[in-house]
């Protein structure tokens, strides 16, 4: 897929014929310098934005022709999001934040699952605290729990450690990896802090809007 902003002389190709597939259960790291197109790529996969050309397939399902409501439902059921800033709703408690994706589809059966996940991410004692009363690391772990509660096909994480100190970042990364391993959950994580993540299943490098397989390997263009 490609994503082009502007027209003619002002045209910017944020993504240029990027094409790759991710296997179920893979922990994929998308790296690249600032402005390389990493977040744009994640927005396309997360259906938060539409590609100018190409398509996104999730579980073999083409998302190109979905209506706005269908996209919302698809995001809710198939995708989990973890953002740079935890982006919890300050008006709700930690548990309420985690339950929100399931409540959006009026599913009231996830209460126990939410509590289990929160226990796994180490927030068992913070369930009923207001989201703005917990630390940055705790908030990010709660955001991971929220991303997992609907048992999505993919969890998309955009710079999840970008706003955390190194110790907290390490802790959050461990949580993500643990979840990936325990739940067999697919993660696509965008970061420019490659070193923090250690060993991962796969790395994709984005440079000038183009995707390359592996780390610092511009010669290896990713092919589906």
């Amino acid at each position: 897929m490609s994503k082009i902003y502007g027209e003619a002389e002002t045209e910017v190709r944020a993504l240029d014929n990027v094409s790759f597939s991710v296997k179920k259960g893979e922990f994929v790291l998308v790296i690249g310098s600032s402005g390389s197109g990493k977040s744009t790529l994640l927005n396309m996969i997360g259906l938060l934005d539409r590609p100018t050309e190409g398509r996104v397939l999730v579980d073999g399902f083409d998302t190109s022709d979905l209506t706005d409501n269908e996209i919302s439902a698809f995001r809710n059921k198939k995708l989990g999001f973890v953002f740079q800033f935890a982006n919890l709703l300050a008006d709700l408690t930690v548990l309420e934040n985690v339950l929100l994706p399931s409540q959006i589809q009026f599913d009231s059966t996830t209460n126990n699952r939410a509590k289990e996940i929160l226990e796994k991410v180490g927030l068992k004692d913070q369930l009923f605290k207001r989201a703005n009363k917990i630390s940055g690391g705790q908030a990010q772990r709660a955001a991971i729990a929220r991303g997992l509660v609907n048992n999505p096909t993919i969890v998309l994480a955009d710079e999840p450690t970008g706003n955390l100190d190194s110790v907290t970042a390490k802790n959050v990364i461990e949580v993500m990896k643990k979840m990936a391993k325990d739940l067999g959950q697919t993660f696509i994580v965008v970061t420019h802090e490659r070193a923090q993540f250690g060993d991962v299943d796969r790395i994709i490098t984005i440079k000038d809007g183009r995707a390359f397989e592996g780390e610092h390997s511009p010669e290896l263009e990713v092919v589906a």
Binding site: N76, N87, L89, D91, I104
Partner: protein
Amino acid sequence: MDYRLHLAKRMLVNKRGSLIGAVLAVSIGILVINVNFVIFQGIYDAIVRDMSEYRFGDIYVYDEEKSTIEKSDIVLINWFERIPGVEAATPRLEASATAETRILGQQHEKFNVPVLGVDPISDIRTSTIHETVGDGQYVYARNSIVVGESVASDLGGCSRGCSFMSGGETDPTATADVDLGDCQPVRVGDSVKLTITDQWGIDQKKRFVVTGISGTAGGQGFDRSVIIHIDTLRDMLDRSGESRSIMVRLQESVSPHDAKQIKNQFLRAFPNDNLRAETIEESAESTLSGFKSGIAMINLIGYFGMGSSAFAILTIQMMLVNSKTREIGIMRAIGARRKDILIIFIMQGMIIGAMGAGAGTALGLGYTTYAKITNMEFQGSLALEVNYNWQKIGETAFLAFILAMIASIYPSYRATKKQPVEAMRSV
């Protein structure tokens, strides 16, 4: 509980300042309308109450063409008093007279006054005008006269130099020798001479003894008239057995609808007598239509105030939406539909509307109760007739609620237009 309602509630509670501001805007609008209603509807109802008590009763009968009813008042009153629900009925006769007083044999004051002739026995069962006699007692004999407070004052020379309100003219020459310092309102036991021109154009003079002074709060009674025995007035006018009107009092349990039925029954019973009958509602309608229009206008101003509070809600809701841009982006990203966002903010409007309507109604009811308990008076004289108009109270609260909800639609719609990625970048 629906998560949208829960979220709407939490968002509002965590923005207490905005919530209080919006709720106050709604409640003040309701309070203004309630206060307007208590005062202006209270004045209207008080005037209607006094009109009914003193002048028109619950049903008022008069001749459509002539100034007097020629049919025997006994026949008419007997007819009414046989009808279930009728408390009493009484004849009344009205005329104009020249009233004069003398002090030390010298003419003191002389001017025209309206004269009301009453049947003392049936009048005290039908009207409460006798209760307005604060000093002395009501008409009881053929030569007794009850003088209105203003007339008593004027006859004592106390209104000289002021505008005369009874419609008569003061004879300036007649009072030339009397010192202004002599101002002394007419009192019980004084004598007043009335000169009335009868139906043949002949002046009939008679001297009366003042038996009482009548004064009413707000001057809705006969403060500017004199009241004498109806038979005396008939004799002076040479209109034996005639009446100007029949005033009918119904029992308290009789509804306005039943009053209308009694009126119609009466008109059917006397089809060839040119009689006209009006219920108090009809009499008030024709007499106070201008006042009623004024109330409608003041209510309209109140509703404009409520409309202004809707604009305040719109502004506050716009601020709330802008302050929650990031949250809107997050919710959209995790799967909330535009409709869900719309519902959350409309629910906020409904919460504001419900709280404002509740608070405004409570304040309005508080004020109404205060006015009722304290017998609130208009300009210190006319006691307001305060009633709980539940329909009006309910309608006002419902309208405020609906306005608050409508005022939330545009901000809510704006909230749905935010794109998740851009919205989440908002700080």
